[in-house]
């Protein structure tokens, strides 16, 4: 069993679906941050069988965490201060997401103009439904299955 030490200041993303941690690492743009990150893949979990965990040593307010609500509702965010969990952050669906989903409508302008960002707007909060900003096509992606890879 691999052991990763406690972090003093930062946050821990727990209960990530196994295999999705690298995708989240990219979506949170952690590759562009100068902070310590531990990516733990396939950790044993009583609840999930196996899961991924991300431990990040930086101030949580520096990151756009809303994107996590779109990727996986079940992720737990533990905010750490002085080596202890001081808060659990709730996830809320962002009004607009950019380059998370890819529009699959072959008639959409994004299908021919490669440089355009794929922007989806929240159209039904209760159902968590997003529609393409350009063609209004419903997003039918199963969460986490076909994201654009940053």
């Amino acid at each position: 069993m691999l052991n990763i030490g406690k972090i003093e200041e930062g946050f821990v993303l727990d209960h990530i679906k196994a295999g999705k941690s690298l995708s989240i690492y990219h979506h949170l743009q952690l590759d562009q941050k100068d902070c310590t990150v531990a990516i733990i893949k396939n950790a044993k979990s009583n609840k999930m069988g196996k899961k991924d965990i991300l431990k990040v040593e930086c101030d949580i307010s520096q990151l756009d965490m809303d994107v996590l609500a779109v990727i996986d509702h079940d992720i737990t965010i533990n905010v750490i201060q002085g080596g202890e969990i001081v808060a659990k952050q709730e996830l809320s669906l962002p009004k607009e997401v950019r380059d998370i989903y890819k529009c699959k409508n072959p008639r959409c302008i994004t299908s021919i103009e490669q440089e355009l960002p794929h922007i989806f707007c929240l159209s039904d909060e209760a159902k968590g439904l997003y529609r393409c900003k350009y063609c209004e096509e419903k997003c039918t992606d199963v969460i986490g299955d076909s994201f654009l890879f940053r």
Binding site: R107, C108, I109, E113, L116, Y134, C135, E136
Partner: protein, 304 residues
């Protein structure tokens, strides 16, 4: 600076103002004949269109302005691979306002985001065709005197017809409208529309036979079954003649019912109906020019 991407971009009050202006243009065309002197409309049509492009051009010419543009993607730099964003930046240097039709959905929105001039969506694939909806609303308001309190039958291809979807979305903002959807099983109105009507408690029914509901209608909106929407030629052939509006069916309708059609028609309205005073589809074309004139003036913020 404002653009027009969807008929819902305008509030009901703004639409009333636009239609008042269109009706004033209808009554006093000479008053507006030089209102766009020195202004240029660019018609950027990446796919063929007769009615919409010529209607926009007629509208600008009637206002004293001039027109430039292209009428197919092959005749533009798109054929060389130029992006919509680059094209509109260029067109912005040549003209004051742009009407854009594009086969890809959302293309006019991409243009509007980079444009230095107002952009009008003149049809983007199967998505929106706002000036057709404005035309339909102006026709109804002018000939019926109101946009509330009526039963409208929509007949034909209700599955793929963007004009139908757009018109329904625009009409549900008015009071006491009920819908009757008349279509073959294969071309039924999409669920997301009927779900919305249910949510808003707006009455509707779905029927197959046009004859059964003719006496109940205040308006009948006919549509063409479009060959390009079918993958299977057999299905198209079977469904294209499903509804043919003729004199016998018109005999069942109210004396003041109106027949509208976005045109072009193929054979869904028999030519024998054309002389019936209730046939409003060619008057609808004329209202299309008035509403586009009013729209150009509004977006250019020209007051006469």
């Amino acid at each position: 600076m404002r653009h027009l991407m969807s008929p819902l971009d305008f509030t009901v009050e703004e639409l009333d103002k636009l239609f008042d202006l269109a009706n004033d243009i209808e009554k006093n065309p000479s008053k507006y004949a030089h209102s766009c002197d020195g202004k240029t409309l660019a018609t950027c049509f990446y796919e063929p269109s007769t009615r919409t492009r010529l209607s926009f051009e007629a509208a600008m010419i009637n206002l004293g302005g001039s027109v430039l543009g292209f009428s197919s993607a092959n005749a533009s730099s798109a054929a060389k691979g130029e992006s919509v964003s680059d094209t509109i930046r260029t067109i912005s240097c040549y003209s004051d306002i742009c009407a854009m039709r594009h086969p890809k959905e959302g293309a006019p929105m991409v243009a509007a985001a980079k444009s230095g001039i107002p952009v009008i969506n003149a049809g983007d694939g199967g998505h929106q065709h706002p000036t057709q909806t404005l035309t339909d609303l102006l026709t109804i308001r002018s000939l019926k005197g109101r946009l509330n309190n009526f039963t409208i039958g929509l007949c034909g291809d209700l599955k793929f017809g963007r004009t139908v979807h757009s018109l329904i979305n625009a009409l549900i903002r008015y009071d006491n409208i009920s819908f009757i959807f008349i279509s073959p099983e294969e071309l039924r109105i999409p669920d997301y529309i009927t779900e919305k009507l249910k949510e808003l408690n707006i009455p509707y029914e779905e029927v197959i036979r046009l004859e059964d509901v003719m006496p109940n209608l205040d308006l009948l909106y006919m549509t063409r079954v479009q060959r390009e929407r079918f993958f299977n030629e057999e299905d198209y052939i079977r469904l294209k003649d499903f509804y043919i509006l003729n004199k016998d069916k018109m005999a069942l309708a109210k004396d003041d019912m109106l027949v509208l059609h976005p045109l072009p028609r193929v054979n869904e309205i028999s030519v024998e109906v054309d002389d019936d005073p209730r046939a409003a589809y060619f008057r609808q074309v004329q209202y299309g020019v008035y509403v586009r004139m009013a729209l150009i003036l509004t977006l250019l913020e020209i007051e006469v």
